[in-house]
Symmetry: D3
Subunit: 172 residues, 6 copies
C-alpha cells in the first residue's frame, strides 16, 4: 500500500464534524497510513451529530516530528482547538517542515490562529471566508484547493476529492 | 422608564447562546425598550442549550431605520447570521448611523463580515480574538468595551455590566 | 451600586426554569448584589431546557442569616426543593425575619410547603393557582405582586418587572 | 373476563409518567376492559422518559357518561391537565356519579383543581402531600388507598396493588 | 396470591423495550411473584425510550436454579444479550428444566442463540420471523403462542394476554 | 476514474450505522461511481448516532436493473429494511444477476430474509452470527470476506478493506 510507511495525526475536540473526522481517517488507513487521534484529554469525544471518537494520545504527549501529515476536521471543534497553545505549536511544526496539512470546513480557524495562511490559496465553508481572507489567504470556492503542503476543502460532499488529494500528496 | 421610547432589534438564529440572547432582551424591556426578535424565518428557534425564541419579524421584512439599537447574541448563531446579505446590510446600517450595536462572545463574526471593525476597540470570547484582530480591531480582555456606538463583551458572566453599558448608552 | 452590600441566596435543583433562575441572578449582580447558588449537592445542575448552573454552597452548609434575600426559581425544581427539610427551614427563616423572598411560576410550591402563605397576596403560573389558594393565599393574575417581603410573578415574560421589584425592595 | 363490559377513560398530556399511564391501561385490558386515551389534541404524546401514546379521542369530543372509570397518570402531565376546563368537568362527572377514579403520584393535582378531595383519604407522591392536605384530603403514606370510588397510589413500584384495587372495584 | 412462592428472573440490557420489560415485571409482582432483574453489570440500564431499570444481580452472580421462570424483553437488548455465554447458559438451564420462558418481540434472538427453538411453535415481531424459522421454529402470527414451557408474543399491545399466559402457566 | 461508469444503490432506513452508510458512499464516489440512496420514503433519515441522509429515490420508484452494485449498511436499519417486499426483491435481483452486494455488521439480516446466503461464506457482527449460520451461510471472523459477488464485513474499523474490496470487484 502506497502509504504504508506514513504516519498521520488528526486533531479531535468535542463537536467535530463526524464525517470530516472519520472519512479521512478511514480512507488514509485504506492506503496503509497509521492514523493517530490526538486531543486535549484521553477520553471519548463526541461529534456534532453523535459519532464517538476514542483518543490515542494527548496534546501534551504527542511529538509532531513523528508524523508525516496533519488532519484538522471541521464542526465546532476548531473553535476550541485554536485556543490550545499545543495545537498552535503542532500546526506550525507541520507548516515549517512543509508536511501535509489537510483542513476542511471550519478547520481554517486553527490555521488562522497558527498564523500560517499569509498568501496561501485556500477554500473552506463560506461561513469563515472573511476570517480566512482577513488572515491573508486567497479564498476560492472550489471543492479542493492544494497550495503547496496545505490542502483545503469546503464541506462533507467534497470529502472524496479532498482525501484523494491528501493521499496523492502523501504518496509523492 | 428611561428607554420607553426606544426600539431595539435582536438577531436570532439556531444555537444562539441562550442567556446572551435573553438577558439583554429582558433587561432592556425592564428599562422600557421595545425589543424585536428578527431572523431568517418566522418560526421558533432553539438556543444552544435548548431555550426557545419566537421570532417577531423576518430579515426580509424588517426596516432597520425603525430601530435605535442592534443586539447580536453569541453561541453558534453568528456563524450562520454572517452569511445572510440582509444581516450584513442591517449591521452596516446601524454602524453608518452610529446607532448602538451590542455584541457578545462569538457575535463578533457578524461584525467582521460586515467589515465595520477597522480601528475599533473590542473584546469577545478569546476563541475569536485572532479573527477580530485580523479584521482590524484592537482586542482587549475586559468584561465590557465601549468604543463609540459599538459595545462588546466576552461571555455570560459579563452580561450584567454589558447590558448596563448598552442601556446607559441608549439612554443618553 | 445600590445593592453592593447585599447578599442574595438562590435555590437550585434539576429542571429549574432556565431564565427564571438566571435572569434574577445576573440582574441583581448588575445592581451590585452578591448572589449565591445553593442546592442539595455540590455539582452542576441542568435547567429544564439545558442551561447549566454550578452550585456555590450546599443546603447543609449554608447559613441563611448571612443573606438579605431568597430567590426561588420555577420549572420542576420546586417539586423537589419542597421535600427537603433544609429548604423549608431556610424559607421560613427569610419569612420570619421579613427578608425579601422572590418566587416565580411554580416556585410557590416551596412557599406552600413552608406554610408561609396564609393571608398573603400572590401570583404564580395559573397551573398552581388552586394550590396557592388552598394554602391560604389570595391569588391574583398580575405580572408582579408585592405583599410585604414576598414578591411573586407568573412566568418568564414577567421577569423584567419582577426583578425590578425585588431590587427596589432590597435597596430600600 | 370480569371487566369485559367496562369502559375506562385515561387522561394523557405531554410528560406523563410512562409506566403510570401504560401499566394500568394494559392491565385493565387484560381483564377485558376497553380503555380509551383522551387528550387535548389528536396526536402522539410523549411520556416523561419517551414512551409514545396515541390519543383515541379529544377532550372536546369525549362523553364521560360512556365510561365506567377514569385514570389519571402522574409525571408532569397533571400540571397541564388541571388547567383545562374539560378535564375539570370530566373529573367532576366521575366523582358525582361515584364512578371509579384512579390517581397516582402527581395525578392528585387534577383532583385538587376539580375540588373533589374534601374529606377524602388519599395517598400520592410525598411531593404534593401539602397540596393534597390543603385541598381537604386526609393524606397517608401507603401503597394504595381506597376511599369510596377514589383509589390513589404513590409511585411506579406501587402499580401492582394500585391497579388490582381498581380492577377489583370495577368488577364489583 | 397465586404466585407468592414463585421467583422470576428478567434479563436486562441497554435499549430494552420499556413496556416489554416493565409490564411483565409489575404484573407478575401483582400475583405475588418475586422478580429479579439480572444484567451484565450492576448499574442502571436505560430502555429504548428512556425508562430506567436498576439491576438486582449480575449475570455472573445469579444462580438460575433459584428461579421458576425467565423473562426476555424485546427492543435492541436481545442483540447484546445473545452474545454473553452466561445468558446462553441461563436460558438453556430454563429450557432443560422445562421452566417457563417468556419471550416477546425481538427476544427470540436470545433463544435462537441458545439453540432451543428446534420444533417449537412461536411468534415474535415479524422482523425476526425469518431468523426464528431458520432456527427451526414454527412461526405463527398470533398475539400469544404457548408451546410447552415457551411462551411467546409479538409486541407491546399483546402484553395483556402474553403475561396472563405466563402467570397462568406459573400458577399451574 | 475506474468506476466512472458504475452506478451503485445504497439502502437507507432510520438508525443506519452512520459510518457504515457514509464511508462506502463517499469512497465509491471518489472512484467515480454514482451512488444513489434509496429508502421507503422521500425524506431525511437519521443515523443511529445522528448523521442525516437525504434520500434520492424511493423503493417503489427505483429500477434495480439500472445499478451495478448494492450497499446494505448496518445499525438497526436492516431490522426494518428486511420487512419491505421491495427490499427483498431488489436484493434478489442483485443476487440473481451476480452483481456486487456489499453488507456490513447487521446488514446480513436483509440477505437472510432475501434467502440468498445458502452456502455463501460470510462475516458480520458476531451478534448475528447464529442467524447467518442458520440461514445456511458459512460464517468466519475476518475483516472482509468475498465470496463471488457477495462481500461482507464486520464493523466500522473494517471499513477500509471492506470498501476497497467492493471497489476492486466493481472495477474488474
Amino acid at each position: 500500500m502506497r502509504l504504508s510507511n506514513k504516519k498521520v495525526l488528526a486533531f479531535v475536540e468535542e463537536d467535530f464534524e463526524d464525517l470530516e473526522l472519520w472519512y479521512p481517517v478511514l480512507r488514509l488507513q485504506e492506503d496503509g497510513a497509521e492514523v493517530t487521534l490526538v486531543a486535549k484529554e484521553s477520553k471519548t469525544y463526541t461529534g456534532k451529530y453523535g459519532v464517538p471518537a476514542d483518543v490515542d494520545v494527548t496534546l501534551s504527549e504527542v511529538d509532531p516530528s513523528d508524523y508525516d501529515a496533519l488532519l484538522v476536521p471541521g464542526g465546532w471543534a476548531p473553535d476550541k482547538l485554536r485556543r490550545y497553545p499545543e495545537v498552535i505549536d503542532i500546526t506550525r511544526h507541520f507548516d515549517e517542515k512543509k508536511k501535509v496539512i489537510g483542513q476542511i470546513c471550519h478547520a481554517g480557524w486553527v490555521l488562522i490562529s497558527a498564523d500560517i495562511l499569509q498568501g496561501v490559496k485556500v477554500t473552506s465553508t463560506p461561513g469563515i471566508k472573511d476570517d480566512m481572507t482577513n488572515a491573508g489567504a486567497e479564498w476560492v470556492d472550489e471543492a479542493v484547493i492544494e497550495d503547496g503542503h496545505i490542502i483545503s476543502s469546503r464541506r462533507p460532499p467534497d470529502l472524496p476529492p479532498y482525501v484523494k488529494a491528501i493521499s496523492d500528496k502523501l504518496a509523492d
